[in-house]
Amino acid sequence: MNDADESAAAIARAYREEWPRIVATLIAATGDWDVAEDATADAFEKAAARWRTEGVPRTPGAWLTTVARNRALDVLRRRGVESAKVREWMAMDEAMGGPPTDPAELAAAAADWDDRLRLVFTCAHPALPLEGRVALTLRTVGGLDTAEIARAFLVPESTMAQRLVRAKRKIRNAGIPYRVPSAEELPERLLGVLAVLMLVHNEGYLASSGDRLLRLDLQEEAIRLTRLVVELLPDAPEPRALLALLLLQHARSPARVDATGDLVPLDEQDRSRWNAAELAEGLAVVDALEREPHAAAGPYRLQAEIQAVHARAATAADTDWRAIVRCYDRLREIQPVPVVELNRAVALGLAGEVGAALDELGRLEASGRLGDYHLLPAAQADLLRRAGRFDAAAARYRDAIGLAPTGPERRFLERRLAELESLAIE
């Protein structure tokens, strides 16, 4: 590896590992999110220029922190801002005869400089609009730039920039604290953090099945950020459960779409194309969680267990649908939402109880709780098709097609309908 390659690799690695740590530290010190982000970005730019010629420093994190801190201090000093921490830094620099240039000086202090958990919780504060929480988490914790995030969410860059500005402004103006919630608040606020990560993943899931080419894999970003939360809160079971859930779903990505960009349903996927490393890691986490005595499984744990059942089945026919129904039974107790009812009914049908499943879907439809959700008639159509009731199935496919958004999902439903219609002609 030559020096240029080596320095580029070191920067890429440092970016993933050090970005949130440095931003979090600078926010804690300055109280200014923009200064913290700009100074950190500036430090990485300087690293890109200097590591190439001067070589990679022995402690890249300390080098970057020093440069970012000096930059932030410079900006704040010019603005005449004086927080307690900034005053302390200035006094320190004065006593040392100038800002530190030797990273070793800061490396000593860097060990207890972990404000990343505060950053994670503040970015996901429930008083921020949901899309602001998602954008801020990707930008500030994930270190992605505004243009990348905007492209991933299919919005103009100016819209995404404005979302970020508003979120940061509300943090400042509404007095949203920069701290880890109290023990009392923590479980609920942690679920809020995980919900944001799940949303990032879901957006990536849609994108990977949608008609869009992306440079950024949001599913991978969600996995990366969930790993960070696991690292920061190693004893909490739900972040680990979310990690397993995301890994097990992401493992199937290579098989979810065929060469022409069409969706391949789970039972028709080529399982040899599933990512073996991600499956193994996800299953290991689920196994470990199952061995630990937790009071009660949370929603992510149950969803991870459902994905684990799929992951363990060598073929679609081997799927233990009874086990999946049992997971949905428990999930329904803690999350009595109609989508869980829908999925439970589908699992029940695939476990062999087609009549009971269709009855449940009929009740769900009559309740109107799912509104015009296309997956309800799509689920009915699929069960009717499997039961050989082709005319009824075709009618439900037509309903689903009418409600489905354009794109791969609708094309999938149209393909199924065409298959049934060709059967009817024969």
Binding site: H125, A127, L154, V155, P156, S158, T159, Q162, R163, V165, R166, R169, N173, A174, G175, I176, P177, P181, E185, L206, A207, G210, D211, R212, P405, T406, G407
Partner: protein, 140 residues
Amino acid sequence: MRYMMFVATDPEAEPFVPEDDTIGEWVAEVEARGVHVLGDRLRPVEDATLVRVRSGELLVTDGPFTESKEWIGGFDILECRDLDEAIEIASKHPMARFGRIELRPFWPLDANEDPVEREEREAGDRGRRTEPAPEPAGGR
């Protein structure tokens, strides 16, 4: 930080049960904690008076004429460490159950500042909540 807590009615909240009205305990707690600056309930809208000056002419009427089912029934001014403390206090107010509560941070005003300069300085802080409409993409 100082917050205004608007205490409002909400037709979708639980019906009011006088026996469960814990306002006395709430007031005692916030006073004891030293976070309560001022607070009271407000007479209903029928007793409100609307004052306007239009083209230099004073108009005093009965009002406001809103048909709204949600109206402000009281307020409290809180002095809190941060939003989380304000949320915690608001969540214990009985009207969080029987109505709803809106927390608004104070925005201290320097009455001696030149209003034109203030407007220029703060224009960005009064952002509209609407975003430009997303592009009509067919992706989703």
